[in-house]
């Protein structure tokens, strides 16, 4: 239970202070990807920050973008991920994995993990956006094929939800 203000609240203040302590790109990126794994997407580790994760993630991204601007040259900025890897090579590898995938739940994880690990500013936007489009197309195709093949009961089991109540 949150029980605090929507906009100005102590949770955002605490995270603003933590973000203020990030002074190198390497630390900022590690902080960002750990935050995303722990607090974002349906596969997150905890819902503790359910009300504020979007705002906090945005603030971390702002800081990482500034650190990136300070540490990378123009060529690196356009072509490399923040870890130094060539962005297009990383993108090609994940697209190849998705092309080979024919299970929608695996494809979903692949797409979610790609966003967690590489959503800008980690990967340059020019590479990320097109890769995200290609992954999204394949995921939508897998999800929408034989959409009504399973009953709701079967679909709940397949998704792995725990049914609390059905009226």
């Amino acid at each position: 239970m949150a029980n605090y203000k929507v906009h100005d609240n102590h949770v955002r203040d605490e995270w603003t202070a933590k973000i203020g302590q990030l002074h190198t790109l390497a630390k900022g990126v590690k902080f960002l990807t750990e935050f995303r794994k722990k607090h974002t997407t349906p596969l997150r580790e905890t819902f503790d920050l359910e009300l504020d994760w979007g705002w906090i993630e945005c603030k971390i991204e702002e800081k990482v973008a500034l650190l990136k601007h300070a540490e990378l040259d123009d060529n690196q900025f356009l072509n490399n991920c923040t870890c130094g890897a060539n962005a297009q090579e990383v993108a090609d590898a994940v697209v190849a994995k998705m092309d080979a995938c024919d299970n929608k739940y695996e494809a979903e994880k692949l797409h979610i993990n790609f966003r967690t690990d590489y959503k800008p500013p980690v990967m340059p936007t020019n590479v990320f956006m097109d890769t995200d489009r290609l992954l999204g197309v394949k995921l939508m195709e897998l999800r929408n094929t034989n959409y009504y093949a399973l009953s709701l009961e079967e679909l709940r089991k397949e998704r792995g939800v725990k049914v609390i109540t059905i009226q």
């Binding site: 349906p42 905890t46 939508m140 195709e141 999800r143 929408n144 939800v161 609390i164 109540t165």
Partner: protein
């Protein structure tokens, strides 16, 4: 040196007629189509399962000059009427007070739909590859910019010339307090601009515009006029004159993918999900706005719905697309059940939650209650008796210390919010088709109210992440929430929302709400 196709066309035309006295707009349009790009090397920025054909036509073949001339005439008529005639006759103060409140919601929410449609049609422009099809989408982008301004102008006009400015003037910040907002964002925002570009076109053009603008933008003008509002028809009918082209764009989207094998695999599923998405919100909300937000009634919402949604759209419009493999959505049958009672169910909750609104609501008068019973037999026994009880307990009077939300708590009738549509429902009391189902996934409980939405979530859970008002405000006292989110009038203490429109009635203040000590809790915690 090679000459361009355009230059060749002009040269050929001059060869036929050395001294043309005029060139028709359609000739110009044909000529412009030769200014195109090499689409084989282009790719869209947006994902889609479909491939749009390169030679899709567009029926209206508008060119910019023709378009601008047409729209400027419409704007002159509209703004001329509003600023001259309607102001002179004091039109803003002749609107029935109940309808004045309804327009706080309708115009402001439609503004959001129009705003998102700008982005949606821009996305479609990028996704299409046929020059004519792009041209149709581009004209629509310009229309949507115009419509966004028009909707904003309606609220501005009511603010400046009407009877109760609060809510018309600051809806953009106060609309987020209550539960109607997030459902509206689901249909008007997420539905139009998220996911597959073609699915977005189906949501916006094939369902939103071809199906629901008739009840929304046309029927609303009838209800407005019946309730003394000359302002809304002046603007909304001007908007509607553009909608035909938008419906045609939706038609052409389908034509453009008709020969793509993806259409046979995905199209009817996307249409069914788009229809359910749009109807789940619009069916109850529009019915509620018309019937409970008016004094003078036009016709029962269920009749309007049957005519425009079920027969005209589900039968005739979708029927015409049958040759392209399009089928009427399977969910249409379930939607038809909702068209009878769902808006009554929603008003019960909307009135109970009135302090979180940015408008004033009123309970049906005795005369209105008779109309409801006559048109919806069984209405009084189910809903009317509850309203009588609330009225007896003084729900309109701040001295009573009673708001209907307390009645729900006292009688253990929990209110849930559907995760997919974001529409609130009370399983104990609803006569519509909603039923409660709750899951837990990765430690998070999610509530649903129907099979179609539950299936959408099970397929694509990340799309529907959105905290509802009970999750967002749990543990907080109601007046604190209202104060933080600016739900007060210019005196800083009187609520914008009120449970009546009586100009002699006492207005509720933050102190009145605070005295109730009403604290939000999330009903799923008790499960």
């Amino acid at each position: 040196m090679a000459i361009s196709a355009a230059t060749k066309a002009a040269t050929d035309a001059l060869a036929v007629n050395r001294a043309p006295t005029s060139v028709s707009a359609q000739e110009v349009h044909r000529w412009l189509q030769s200014f195109t790009w090499d689409f084989d090397k282009n790719r869209s920025k947006y994902p889609t399962k479909y491939k749009m054909a390169n030679d899709t036509k567009e029926q209206f073949k508008l060119i910019a000059k023709e378009y601008a001339r047409m729209e400027s005439v419409k704007d002159e008529r509209q703004f001329g009427s509003l600023q001259d005639v309607l102001t002179r006759i004091d039109a803003g103060n002749k609107v029935h007070p109940k309808w004045n409140e309804t327009m706080k919601v309708i115009s402001n929410f439609l503004e959001v739909g129009e705003y998102n449609a700008i982005a949606a049609t821009g996305m479609l422009w990028d996704s299409a590859s046929a020059p004519e099809q792009k041209n149709g989408y581009l004209a629509q982008t310009l229309d949507e910019i115009r419509h966004t301004n028009q909707c904003g102008y309606v609220n501005y006009y009511f603010t400046k010339h009407g009877q109760d400015a609060a809510g018309h003037n600051d809806a953009r910040r106060t609309r987020t307090i209550g539960p109607l907002w997030k459902g509206m964002k689901r249909v008007f925002s997420d539905g139009f601009i998220s996911g597959d570009a073609v699915e977005c076109s189906i949501n916006l053009q094939l369902v939103g515009e071809a199906c629901f603008t008739n009840p929304l933008i046309v029927a609303v003008t009838e209800w407005a006029a019946a309730n003394g509002d000359e302002i809304t028809p002046t603007v909304f009918l001007s908007i509607e004159t553009d909608e035909l082209r938008h419906m045609a764009n939706g038609y052409q989207t389908i034509v453009s993918i008709a020969n793509d094998e993806a259409a046979s695999k995905y199209l009817n599923t996307d249409l069914n999900n788009a229809f359910w998405t749009q109807q789940k919100y619009f069916t109850p909300v529009l019915g509620m706005m018309f019937e409970y937000g008016s004094h003078f009634k036009v016709e029962p919402w269920v009749k309007t719905w049957n005519r425009w949604v079920y027969e005209d759209w589900g039968g005739i419009w979708i029927g015409r697309l049958g040759k392209y493999g399009v089928e009427s959505p399977a969910s249409l049958r379930d939607a038809k059940k909702d068209a009878y009672w769902a808006h009554h169910d929603l008003f019960l909750l909307a009135y109970a939650l009135w302090p979180t609104g940015f408008f004033r609501l009123t309970l049906p008068t005795a005369e209105e209650a008779d109309w409801f019973e006559e048109n919806y037999p069984g209405w009084h026994e189910h809903y009317g008796v509850i309203y009588e009880e609330w009225r007896k307990r003084g729900c309109e009077d701040p001295n009573s210390g009673f708001i209907p939300l307390m009645w729900f708590i006292e009688n253990n009738h929990p209110i849930y919010i559907d995760r997919v549509s974001q529409v609130p429902f009370c399983p104990d009391l609803c006569k519509g088709a909603s039923t409660l189902r709750v899951h837990e996934y990765n430690g998070k409980k999610n509530t649903f109210s129907d099979d179609w939405g539950e299936r959408m979530w099970l397929t694509e859970p990340e799309r529907y992440e959105c905290q509802n008002m009970f999750e967002q405000y749990a543990g907080r006292e109601l007046s604190e929430v209202i104060a933080e989110l600016h739900g007060v009038r210019s005196d800083g203490k009187t609520l914008i929302a009120q449970p009546h429109t009586d100009k002699d009635g006492k207005m509720w203040t933050l102190d009145d709400i605070k005295a109730l000590n009403c604290v939000f809790s999330d009903p799923v915690d008790a499960l």
